[in-house]
Symmetry: C2
Subunit: 134 residues, 2 copies
DNA sequence: TCAATAGTACATAAATCCCGAACTAATGAA
DNA sequence: TTCATTAGTTCGGGATTTATGTACTATTGA
């Protein structure tokens, strides 16, 4: 017997707020997840993201993160069999808040690139220091 | 005798993070304050914003809000006489994260306009209801 | 030096966040 | 059907953040 689950709540675009979007994306784990979902056009399940940051993220925490992204109107989550497929709602949101999502995702990329550059610089600096002290 | 205050902390543009910006602007009071500072090019003191939302905001709370905006790199605060002048750092930030601030401020305006439209609609609806029930 | 104004610092109550444990839903195998 | 497995959600309570009243500092003007 198949009992249909009550589907997840998704706000209509008109009820989406800038505050909720910014709050949802002000967490490093959530922007990373969202940037990933937006970047690749295929859908994603939750546990796929448990290693998105240095420390593995417990699944209860991941579930909360997805709920926040969903209720901010940023993603759509649909159960398909045993897992959840998450897709970006950026096309809808872009109509209401033009350029917002794009600018945030781009900014996130810039920051990532800068961070890697700094990390590389720090590493080679450390290497030079090590070399000198020999 | 004039004793110079230790000036307030302002992060350099390179240390500004997307997360801090989004977090700072994910609060309704803070976006409203920031949108105001960006919109008008003149500088502002803190207490000028105590009536920016429905409930008057205590000044200790306002001070915290300004600190968060400042430490996110969004505004520059400089003491001039007895009061503080706050100016937007959007030109600097725009170099690092192009379009980000603009998109957020625009989105905020869209939302404000939609809200007013809804409020007006609700008001006239209420008026019609009142008229009918007479 | 005193009063007034603008803002900050601190303490603590309220709200929010994180995450382990227990739970639900779907699938597949026996 | 029943059991095992996988994917997520919900709940509870400790940790962290946020809001704000009170007390403080800095500056100006009388």
């Amino acid at each position: 017997m198949v009992v249909y689950m009550r589907p997840l709540f998704h706000p209509s675009v008109q009820d989406v707020t800038v505050e909720a979007i910014l709050h949802a994306l002000s967490d490093p784990v959530r922007v990373a997840i969202y940037a990933d979902i937006v970047g690749q056009n295929c859908s994603h399940n939750c546990v796929a993201f448990s290693n998105i940051s240095e420390k593995p993220i417990p699944k209860s925490t991941l579930s909360q993160h997805f709920k926040i992204l969903r209720e901010a109107g940023l993603i759509r989550g649909e159960r398909q069999g045993v897992e959840m497929h998450n897709t970006s709602r950026c096309a809808e949101i872009d109509k209401r808040f033009p350029g917002l999502i794009g600018a945030i995702v781009t900014a996130h990329k810039v920051q990532l690139a800068d961070g890697e550059r700094q990390t590389r610089a720090a590493k080679s600096k450390a290497a030079r220091r090590t070399a000198r002290s020999k």
